[in-house]
C-alpha cells in the first residue's frame, strides 16, 4: 500500500556548515521497523535529488524510534555563504516528510 511518510513519522532538521541533518522519528514504536526497512540511503538520496548534492549518511537510533540522515552539500555552502532562503536547512525536515512509501505491510 502507498503511505505518506508524514503519517507515520515526524522530523526535525538542522545544519552543520554545508551539511543538513534530518532526524526522522516514528510516531509510534510499531512504525519504527517501517522506517528502518524503507528509509534507505538510496531512497533518501533519490528524494533529495537536486537538493543534497553530496553523499547521504544514515544512522539508526532505535531507542528513540528514529533515523538520522546527513545530507552533504545541501545548504548552498552553508552559513553566511549560502544564498538560500533556508540556509540553515530548517525546512529539510518537512521536505523529507513529503516522501511517499510503497510498503508491503498493512497499517
Amino acid at each position: 500500500m502507498k503511505i505518506r511518510l508524514i503519517d507515520i513519522a515526524h522530523a526535525r532538521s538542522g545544519d552543520k556548515g554545508d551539511t543538513g541533518n534530518v532526524g526522522v522519528i516514528a510516531r509510534k514504536q510499531e512504525y519504527y521497523p517501517l522506517l528502518a526497512k524503507y528509509l534507505t540511503v538510496e531512497r533518501v538520496k533519490k528524494h533529495f535529488n537536486g537538493i543534497a548534492l553530496g553523499k547521504v549518511e544514515r544512522f539508526e537510533i532505535p531507542n528513540l524510534w528514529a533515523i538520522n540522515f546527513l545530507l552533504h552539500e545541501a545548504l548552498g555552502g552553508g552559513g553566511t555563504k549560502s544564498l538560500k532562503n533556508d540556509a540553515q536547512g530548517k525546512t529539510l525536515s518537512s521536505a523529507m516528510l513529503r516522501m511517499e512509501l510503497d510498503i508491503d505491510e498493512k497499517l
Binding site: G23, F59, I61, L64, L83, N85, D86
Partner: protein, 476 residues
C-alpha cells in the same frame, strides 16, 4: 582533572575562604533561559519567577556570533560580548540573589571580563555588594596562531585536510570550544554568576551537575547524561513545544511558552519539565525532536567533556510535561578541543520583488531571466547567482509541487562573488525591473540590496595540552 590555571584576583581574595563544602543535594533544577542570541527577552525572568530553580543557563553563541563580536571589539576594546546578557542579568539578578539561583552563560563572547565589569558596575550602582562573578577565558587564540604554527601545531581544516596557510591572512576570529570543567572550577569557588567565552552549549548545563554531585572527570556515563541534558536545554523552547512537527496544533498556549527545565539527579537520571502554569508542551515527542537537532553520528556525540552515545538514551513520559531520561552511556573524551576560525570570503547581496496575479510565477521567472541577461551584458562575474520563488519553491526546491494559480510570488535573487563592485552593481539592477519588466510588481522596500561580507568557517582540532582555560573569580 586536566590542568588548568586559576588566577587569584587582586583584592580581598582568600583562596581558603571559598573552599566551601556543599551538602550534596538529591536533586537540582537547571533552567534554560535563552536558546540563541535574540531569543525571547522575557524567558529568563519567567524561569526565575514562575517556579523553583537552582541554576539558569543561557546560550548566546553561534559560529557567526564570534566574528561579529571580534569585529566590535576591534572598534571598541570594551565591547565584544552580548549586551543582551547584561540587560537580562540586570533584570533577574536581584531575584536570583534572593533565591540563591546561580547564572551560567557563554554570552561573554570574545570579552568575558568586559561583560563581567559591565555587570559589576551596574551592581555597584544598585548597591549590590559581595557579588562573586567567575569568568572563563583563554579560548580566544587569535593572537597565538603564529606561535602554534612555530610549535608545529597545524590547525588543518578538519573536514577537507587543507592547510591553514590557505586562509591564514584572512582569519578574523579563532576560538577553542571549552567544556564544563572551567565552569565547575568557578562554581566550586563560589561564583554566583559564571560568564564564559566560547564554551560548548552542553557544558553550561553539565557544569552545575558536576559541581553539585561531585561527578568525576572519567565518570563517562554521568558526564554523558549531563551532556545530553545540555543538548535538550540549549535551544530553549525548541524542546518544550516550539517548532514541533509531530502535532503543532496540540501545543497549548505557545504565546506563553515555558522554557525547558532539567531536574537532575546524582545517579545521572534527568527529568525534563517546565514550570506549571506556562504554555508549551514537554513530551517524549518534543524532547526527541530536540535530540535530533544538529546531530551527526548519534553514537559519537563529541564534546570536550565526553563522547555521548545517543543510541543509549531512554525517554519515558511520566506525567503531564514530565519526561524521564535514563540509561545514557558515555565514552572517554578525546585528546583534542575543536577550534572554530572565521575568515572573510567575498560578498553576497540578496533582494526581492513581489509579483501579483495573474501569472505571478511566470512573470517572476521572466523578471529573473531579464535581470540575469542584464548582469551578463554588463560583463559581471559572480561565483553564484541563485533565484528562488517564494510562495513556490524557496523551501523545498525541486520537491515543490507546481501550484495551479498563485495569488502572488516573491522573486528572491542573490549573488555571491569576490568582486565588491560587481556585487554592488547587482544591487542597482534590481529596482529598475519595476519600470522595465513584467507588470503588477511591488515589494521593493528597504532600498538597494547592499553587499554583505561572507564569513566562512575553518574548523580544526587542537591538542588539549596546547591551550589552557583560565578561570578567574572576583568578588566586588
Amino acid at each position: 582533572m586536566r590542568s588548568r590555571i586559576t588566577l587569584a584576583p587582586k583584592a580581598g581574595w582568600d583562596s581558603l575562604s571559598i573552599t566551601t563544602t556543599y551538602c550534596m543535594k538529591d536533586k537540582i533544577r537547571i533552567a534554560s533561559g535563552q536558546g540563541f542570541w535574540g531569543d525571547l527577552q522575557n524567558a529568563p525572568y519567567d524561569q526565575v519567577t514562575k517556579g523553583p530553580i537552582d541554576y539558569i543557563m543561557m546560550d548566546f553563541l553561534a559560529e557567526v556570533t564570534m566574528s561579529i563580536l571580534q569585529k566590535q571589539k576591534k572598534r571598541n576594546p570594551e565591547t565584544g560580548y552580548a549586551r543582551d546578557l547584561v540587560h537580562m542579568i540586570e533584570h533577574i539578578l536581584p531575584i536570583c540573589l534572593e533565591k540563591g539561583i546561580r547564572i551560567i552563560s557563554n554570552g561573554g563572547g570574545v570579552n568575558p571580563k568586559g561583560c563581567r565589569d559591565a555587570i559589576f558596575s551596574w551592581a555597584h550602582k544598585k548597591g549590590i555588594r559581595n557579588l562573586k562573578i567567575g569568568t572563563v577565558f583563554g579560548d580566544d587564540i587569535l593572537g597565538s596562531l603564529d606561535e602554534f604554527s612555530k610549535r608545529g601545531i597545524k590547525l588543518n581544516n578538519m573536514d577537507t585536510g587543507e592547510s591553514l596557510d590557505a586562509v591564514r591572512n584572512k582569519v578574523m576570529s579563532a576560538n577553542v570550544y571549552f567544556g564544563a570543567w572551567p565552569i565547575v572550577d568557578a562554581l566550586n569557588q563560589g561564583a554566583q554568576i559564571v560568564i564564559t567565552g566560547r564554551t560548548t552549549d552542553t557544558g553550561l548545563t553539565l557544569a552545575p551537575m558536576v559541581h553539585e554531585f561531585g561527578w568525576k572527570e572519567d565518570d563517562w556515563d554521568r558526564i554523558a547524561a549531563g551532556t545530553v541534558a545540555g543538548h535538550i536545554l540549549e535551544c530553549g523552547g525548541q524542546a518544550s513545544g516550539g517548532n514541533f512537527s509531530a502535532d503543532w496544533r496540540s501545543v497549548p498556549d505557545l504565546a506563553r511558552i515555558g522554557f525547558p527545565i532539567a531536574e537532575a539527579f546524582p545517579n545521572g537520571e534527568v527529568i525534563i519539565t517546565k514550570h506549571e502554569n506556562t504554555g508549551g508542551l514537554v513530551s517524549r515527542q518534543t524532547v526527541t525532536e530536540q535530540l535530533m537537532y544538529e546531530i551527526g553520528n548519534p553514537a559519537n556525540y563529541i564534546t570536550p567533556d565526553c563522547v555521548a552515545d545517543f543510541t543509549t538514551i531512554h525517554l519515558e513520559d511520566i506525567g503531564p510535561n514530565r519526561v524521564r531520561m535514563f540509561g545514557v552511556r558515555g565514552k572517554p573524551a578525546t585528546d583534542s578541543y575543536k577550534v572554530s576560525m572565521s575568515y572573510l570570503d567575498g560578498y553576497t547581496a540578496i533582494g526581492t520583488l513581489t509579483y501579483a496575479w495573474p501569472d505571478a510565477l511566470e512573470k517572476a521567472k521572466a523578471a529573473d531571466e531579464i535581470l540575469r541577461r542584464r548582469l551578463s551584458d554588463l560583463g559581471l562575474n559572480f561565483d553564484e547567482i541563485r533565484s528562488e520563488f517564494m510562495g513556490y519553491n524557496s523551501c523545498h526546491g525541486p520537491l515543490s509541487v507546481m501550484p495551479n494559480e498563485t495569488n502572488e510570488v516573491v522573486l528572491r535573487i542573490g549573488v555571491r562573488g569576490h568582486d565588491h563592485k560587481a556585487v554592488e552593481r547587482f544591487g542597482m539592477e534590481l529596482a529598475p525591473l519595476i519600470l522595465t519588466g513584467p507588470p503588477a510588481v511591488t515589494g521593493f522596500a528597504g532600498g538597494r540590496p547592499k553587499p554583505s561580507e561572507v564569513v566562512a568557517y575553518w574548523p580544526a582540532l587542537i591538542p588539549k595540552t596546547a591551550v589552557q582555560p583560565i578561570v578567574e573569580v572576583v568578588e566586588v
